[in-house]
Symmetry: C2
Subunit: 312 residues, 2 copies
């Protein structure tokens, strides 16, 4: 690793809008305020929701980073080894900017690690623009605002804090968008699933977790159309059973989240997965082999903490 | 855990001046800016350097927290399970404010975790007073300034950043102290060892680390008097051999750091400890059975990273 080596800013695998947009915007901020060269990278394919955002604001997607070995990296929007780009174990982690539970990243030397319990990494990135007195352009505002709308399901998720909403509304003004209209179009682009294979839908937003000796994965798709969610469930079920086996996971869950109804239908794979959901939530299996989790829309703030508690 | 339960702010075991003073000052800040009740606690005895600071500014030492089980805690100045108060595994960690390498704290939910690569936690606490527009009283300034002088060996340690020094000088003005004179008196109080048992000296500043299946501990004492350090070395040697065995550690190291000469004499215990130092530093064992590490004064920034590299 040379000292003038470029520093890559990268979000989690199966990147969502926050992971892509926060990486782009933070790399730009770091380039403005430091003497070092930073470049945003992506740890997977850009999904259709994110592509809509990038197209809308005329921004090019970051280049794919296949392996981070021997690179210098700043991790945004995650701090779990299971979610990070391959090779990070042998990379130099320079910083972590995130808004999730504290995971298992460790370093040999002190670094800047900033995790805030807010709804979106983009909220923190905006605060850092402010703290460093840097101008937020229309494009930066648009990307950060989109990430907040996406992560908070347009302020409906319990992960959303007053700070997220306040910042998103400020950013919407700079970006020149009407939040409600823009959100509908953006979510629609993201749940445009007719042409997709189950595999493509599955990997749009899938994260792995490890607790003790239990390895499990949780995917999620959010939609404003209830009917569509049932149709997707039917198409995904055989696929997640296969994925669970192929990836050697104990359990896989997939959250089909209804944004308007603020609830989730949970499908699952793995021998003990059904029993586990019943333990965590105390709800029965519905006809059609899924669990209805009323009021649950957030993987991070609702599902994962309930699962962690049930695993302990 | 009830919702109006007091939140304890606590530093690491074998607390140093930063762990005690940052806990007191951060608890006070949190009481000012939140509706919740916070109280500083200590995870071990107050050492003589810290007692000098508290006496100088007329501040009472925090109460000892023997076990954090079922408590709500904010951890300052550490983020390693081996260094934290007993029972934290079953406590609710609300925040972490630190300036060390990223360790092994994990949580079930998102929390505020702020780690900055600066010389002292107190530097970060001062920044938080500024960010929240809170007055820094003479007592708060004195404690934070003392912690910075202590952790950075009066700005001589490589862990010291320009920000630490700038903030310490500002704080010294508010506290009404002359940094050089105050530092000499403070360090002298801390290395006033004539009346102490080897055990007392050893536990003034001792931390445990775990890498893979290797468990080791590193203690440190800093002094402005070279002769004194040799005398302490002779008294400590039999004790660390005993401590290593009793605590079931693979290796123990003790840094006898000469602040003026900016070097460390390293004594050790454990079957493979000597060989290990030679691997990490490529220096021979000196007559009198210690290793001379020229230029090494910081456990955090110099010794631990070199040890981590040698262990991998």
């Amino acid at each position: 690793m040379s000292d003038n080596q470029k520093i890559y800013v990268v979000g989690h695998k199966n990147p969502d809008t926050d992971s892509i947009c926060s990486a782009i915007c933070y790399a730009e901020l770091k380039n403005k305020i430091t003497g070092e060269a930073h470049e945003a990278k992506r740890a997977g394919n850009v999904n259709e929701e994110t592509q809509y955002v990038l197209d809308y604001f005329g921004v090019k997607a970051p280049v794919f980073l296949e392996n981070a070995e021997n690179e210098k990296v700043i991790l945004v929007d995650h701090n779990e080894m299971t979610q990070t780009v391959d090779g990070v174990k042998n990379a130099e982690i320079m910083e972590v900017i995130d808004h999730h539970k504290i995971g298992d990243i460790s370093t040999d030397v002190p670094i800047y690690f900033r995790n805030q319990p807010v709804g979106c990494t983009a909220t923190i990135i905006y605060q850092m623009y402010q703290e460093n007195n840097q101008e937020v352009t229309k494009e930066i505002a648009g990307m950060l605002c989109s990430a907040i709308i996406s992560d908070t399901l347009m302020f409906r998720s319990p992960t959303c804090t007053p700070v997220d909403k306040e910042i998103a509304l400020k950013l919407a003004e700079i970006a020149g968008i009407n939040v409600e209209e823009y959100a509908v179009a953006m979510f629609k682009a993201g749940s445009n699933l007719a042409d997709k294979t189950p595999e493509e839908i599955f990997y749009q937003d899938f994260k792995k977790f490890n607790v003790g000796d239990v390895n499990f994965g949780v995917g999620q798709i959010s939609s404003m159309a209830t009917d569509e969610l049932f149709e997707i469930a039917d198409r995904l079920k055989p696929y997640i059973a296969k994925a669970c086996e192929e990836q050697g996971l104990d359990m896989i869950f997939f959250m089909l989240t209804d944004i308007l109804e603020e609830s989730t239908n949970l499908i699952y794979a793995g021998a003990k997965a059904g029993e586990f959901v019943e333990k965590a939530y105390g709800v029965p299996c519905e006809e059609g082999d899924y669990y209805k989790l009323a009021g649950v829309v957030s993987r991070k703030k609702q599902l994962i903490p309930a699962f962690m508690a049930a695993l302990q």
